[in-house]
Amino acid sequence: MKRGQLLHIDLSTKTSETIERQDLFDKYIGGVGVASKLLLENCPPNTPYEDSPIIFAIGPLNLYYPCCAKTVALFKSPLTGNLGESYAGGKLSMAMRVAGHDAILITGKLDKPHYLLIQDDTVEFRNAHALWGLSTRATGRILKEKVPGEGRRSILRIGVAGENQVRYAMVVVDTIRHFGRLGLGCVMGAKKLKGIVVAGTQSHRVPSVKDYKTEYKKVHELVLRSGRMDKYDILGTAVNVLPLNEMQALPTRNFSSFAFEGAEEISGEQFADDVLVGKSSCVPCPIGCIHIAEVRIQFNKKQRDYGTIYVPYDYEPIFALGSNLGVGSTEGVLQLIERVDLRGLDAMSAGVVLGWLTEAYTKGFVTMDDLGGLAPRWGEVDVYLKMLDHIASPPNAFYTIAGHGVAALSEKYGGKELAVHFEGNEASGYHTGPANIVGHMIGIRHSHLDNAGYSIDQKTLSKSMTSEQIGELIAEEDTWRTVLNSLVLCLFARPVFTPDVVLNALKVLGEERTIDELKRIGEEVFHLRMRFKNQEGFSLDNLNPPARLLERLSPHGKVERTMIDDILHHWRKTHEL
């Protein structure tokens, strides 16, 4: 199939052009494969993040099959100063497909706030002066009313956190999905780009309608009727709260313990039974993994003044803004999720920052004066809400640093032993053991999703593995996930898209590949990104796992540094690094 259209938008000159880059798609499949190459081509060493390119890319399966509904964004992360890689669902991959763009490369920066309206091949630079300073919700509502293409478009926008250069500011995609991690919102803010709308009108043909229908049906049945994705459909990712708590791996009160007494109250079961009002999905995907809750807020008791908010929830925000802050109620967690959503902050980084601030305050590293008169205490939702507002719009120099993450905070104010981050990226919600720690340390974006070390740890609880086996498994997972991320399908659908299914799905669209070929490309793309990371100062010889995770017991007991080094050694050997 013919593909490989790259839309290049230059913000500095306010121009755009479409470029044929089929070569890249042949060589690197699509998605993160192609985006990695484009990043290396367009981001010379030590480029400041505001001058770095933003690359969005989809892969050959997007829109053609269920669950192939993600888009990858690559950029220079303001948070880590290194590779920024993030994925979002919603309707973005659909919109890019019907607009005919397999990748979008945004370079340069604007001098005044604008939003982009991309309709098929045309790009409009629209004034966003009146939108600057508005919440992600208000911006979304206004753009929805203002731009054409309802039902065949995707709307991205940032909040004030992105405008104000919070290094972990995120981008809201279609109201309930996000480019959450590593600060894409901050990069957009630096470029004075308030939003991006992508809409298209194209329809595509497949080589054989009959074969395509058969293959589509096969995937659809696997998704819905094999049971492989049921957990996402029923409770969603919030299903993880209780099992992780039970095995004492649920980060609680800034990772100081891993069992939360309020876990039942913020479990997926509790959310579903008490506050779930509807489910939603990305397009196209028949799994309603997006769970939306309703919470009724009392603003003024005397006046009987109430309001109702609707908030999507997932495991990661529940851990970060729930157990990690000692917040043990669905109402409390939902208010905090809503606030990070409106301001445009990454829920995970924001939760870990608030956790650090609370502990650092009780231990005397920071003062009430620093905190603008606020005294954080575990479980105090109202104080945390105010602190989130301060992080998004800093009233003093202290909150500006708080917007740079826990690494920057602890560098300046002390308390490094309380700062739970990997290379500057705040840790995710798992303390399952050594594979999780190594997986985060060497993960290409220091995320739990890079290689799912937490999943290996859970398996080794019942069946032990050597360090060699663990190191090899993490490396294999790095590579296969790079393939899936080049196809840009949802990792929740990983059990459905086995190598056989992937090959057939591609074949029906006219793309013949072999498993060896896919894995070779996966490995190559892994190394491409490692090259970018090394170029930006990352070194495998100088890795520091968070002290706290080595000091506190995991389900595997105390994780010894020697074990980490051992796994690391075998991982490097497998990747030939």
């Binding site: 009108t201 329809s203 028949p286």
Partner: protein
């Protein structure tokens, strides 16, 4: 990737569509949504409709999913709704067409001649539900012919087939 607009495809589609429509109307039934609160906006029905004609995209799809505003302003608290032809017995769209492109469908609703249609959008404008969609690329109106292809793809059984009188 290039869009599809060759006349071959349009002729092919026109014929296929009308044949399917005539075949199905023998049974005199219509498709309609029920318990639409269960909709998750996955577009499975929309793309099933498109796939029926051999296309991937929205231009050939005869139904849409829309989000309705939430009870309070903004946010994600609205419901999703399925927008599709509800098979009127006295379709106002028919009278709105100046090109004689719309004819009655037995059992309710309409069939649009893809040869005569110029994509002016007058029928969409006339339809109180806005349930006729003009493919901006081909400039052709697309409407549900109640063939029932979408039904089996809905993960929440929202689309059902109902027998109707002539």
């Amino acid at each position: 990737m290039k869009s599809i607009s060759s006349s071959f495809h349009i002729r092919h589609l026109t014929k296929g569509n009308q044949e399917i429509a005539e075949e199905w109307t023998e049974n005199l039934h219509i498709v309609r949504p029920v318990n639409v609160e269960r909709c998750i906006s996955c577009f499975s029905c929309v793309f099933a409709c498109s796939r029926r004609t051999g296309h991937v995209g929205l231009g050939y799809a005869a139904l849409r999913i829309k989000s309705t505003p939430p009870p309070t302003a903004g946010g994600s608290g609205g419901n999703y709704v399925v927008i599709m032809c509800r098979a009127c017995k006295e379709p106002v769209c028919l009278e709105a067409c100046q090109y004689d492109a719309i004819k009655y469908r037995r059992g309710g609703g309409i069939i649009i001649s893809q040869e005569k249609c110029v994509g002016c959008g007058d029928c969409t404008e006339a339809c109180p539900l806005s349930a006729i969609f003009v493919d901006p690329l081909r400039k052709k109106a697309v409407v549900c012919i109640h063939c029932g292809e979408c039904i089996e793809w809905c993960p929440h059984d929202i689309l059902i087939k109902t027998e109707v009188e002539e």
